[in-house]
Symmetry: C2
Subunit: 363 residues, 2 copies
Amino acid sequence: MAGSDVSEREERILSIIETARAKPARFKDDRITMAHGAGGKATQTLIEGLFVPAFASPELSALGDAGAVEVDGAELALTTDSFVVKPLRFPGGSIGELAVNGTVNDLAVSGARPLALTLSLVLEEGLPSETLRAEVEAIGAAAAAAGVHVVAGDTKVVERGHADGMYVCTTGLGRRDPRARLSPSGLRPGDRILVSGTIGEHGTAIMLARGELGLEADIVSDTRSLWPTVDAVLDAAGPDLRAMRDATRGGVASVLNELARASRVAMVVREADVPVSPEVAGAAELLGIDPLYVANEGRLVAFVAPEAAGAALHALQAVPGGEAAAEIGEVRTEPPGMVLVETAFGGRRVMDQLVGDPLPRIC
Amino acid sequence: MAGSDVSEREERILSIIETARAKPARFKDDRITMAHGAGGKATQTLIEGLFVPAFASPELSALGDAGAVEVDGAELALTTDSFVVKPLRFPGGSIGELAVNGTVNDLAVSGARPLALTLSLVLEEGLPSETLRAEVEAIGAAAAAAGVHVVAGDTKVVERGHADGMYVCTTGLGRRDPRARLSPSGLRPGDRILVSGTIGEHGTAIMLARGELGLEADIVSDTRSLWPTVDAVLDAAGPDLRAMRDATRGGVASVLNELARASRVAMVVREADVPVSPEVAGAAELLGIDPLYVANEGRLVAFVAPEAAGAALHALQAVPGGEAAAEIGEVRTEPPGMVLVETAFGGRRVMDQLVGDPLPRIC
């Protein structure tokens, strides 16, 4: 971003934010709040301020979606997620399907082909067996669709009133794909920012399924395995694909902020180019939430060198369900660590990290 | 067991039990109960009657403590566990330490050297940060002691009143040790049954820590990494080590029943030879529970060919904390799938699978 198109006042504001964000995150809260699980600023503080120092683990410090492990020459990736979504079933999916796809997708966007899953269940005493059976079948079907085996499992039961029916923890093992040369800190000015389809469907579907809004709209979750998408874009862009993230908790905005910070670059997003369905746009308007902050469970953000951006976009659009894939912005130099949005009306605003949790328990 | 030392009545009873147990387990319960998480008969029904058929996974069907996966020639093992222990801290350990050791131990007894862990937390809104910090530090210390890195993590937060402070899910990746030739179905008549130390300490320590019994005794959990124990016994017995299990939920009795069933053999345990501390024996007496059914978190049961049993026992006793390791019985031919206990007074009884959950939430 050239200095000349930023007003003096905006420069001062950006400078203050930049200084604050350059500091290492410190975990100073007295108690855990819902925001610590929302994937935004509080989550980052917890990870960088507590977990990373305590575990002194180079794999964890890399802060990728999956940890890299090498065993006897095999280049592996490991990732884990707990799922606490409410309700357990929603239009387009359920907690079991989400647990498989969410973990498979963390491997995929790390450039690792998903191979195996483990499954750990915390069940609530009194859970109808049919509810459990339905989720076990959903897990089996999603694992088969994603080409992974469930190789180990565990079940615990807690008393009535806990665990909201069930919590599901899935861990995924993948093999690094030799085509992938990805790094969250490898973005360069000029790189293009692509999304793999319309955004915000999962989070919106969950909010509507809770029925708290008294709103009806035909929105289904986007939950799906992203490996076919990753496979296609790796083929098209190879080493020109700099980084990928699936845009789950905190949405596309959180992904952009994380990577802008990790790569010490700026990003500009052209709001008009962000693919949002009219239904999601309408629901988000009523909820007072920007779709860029809404969770997706089958959408990724890809950062691609300019010379490969066209081919990568074409590849994304050719994947079933990816017809609406789009280039939504690009990486700039200044101000480092910041994400700016150019609105349809020619204005510009900072798209900061999520503070608080506007959409709790969406995954 | 020779037929001549079993009375006709006993023969008839054993025959009825044997017929019932030879049937494949079917999951027919209407609702989930605490027993489904207790590691006994109900848990087995859930695994064999629901999970194994739904996932159609050969790794899972093997029903080991860890699933075997081969990637690019590397022989790997994966295992997962959720921890829901109450209270979070207890004499000798805490949920975080337990989560590391429990998962490391499932790898170790599968003959896999633990390499890496993932950590997934479900936290309750309002949890004091100091409680979380203490567990994160316990996890870091236990991981360092066990020689594993935490390579990936996830945190979710649920509303107050759920998750009892925190639930912890750990998944472990290990490398198969070339010395190990283990199989839960590989036991042969004549094999000796060894335990790696005194039993029942963990479960008893948890029950006392809840303060519900109004009983005070100096019992601390046995939670520890079993890799040094496994390493020692692999060195001593090599291919003569047939199988190992850590005796967690359901205790030594559940391990024996599982393997007697998997190998279609009988087992006889000499009650007088089972190492139990006087404190645990006293508390178990008051609780009305047999220490053989009480959970351990740092004890294993090893099945060893007779010619290597002496060397294996010597190796177990030489590991710090294993001084009380003992040979407690042996594998027999008849009646297949059954575990019998010879009491100190010369009597004999069937030591069946656990039904119900006498000690809920102990891990």
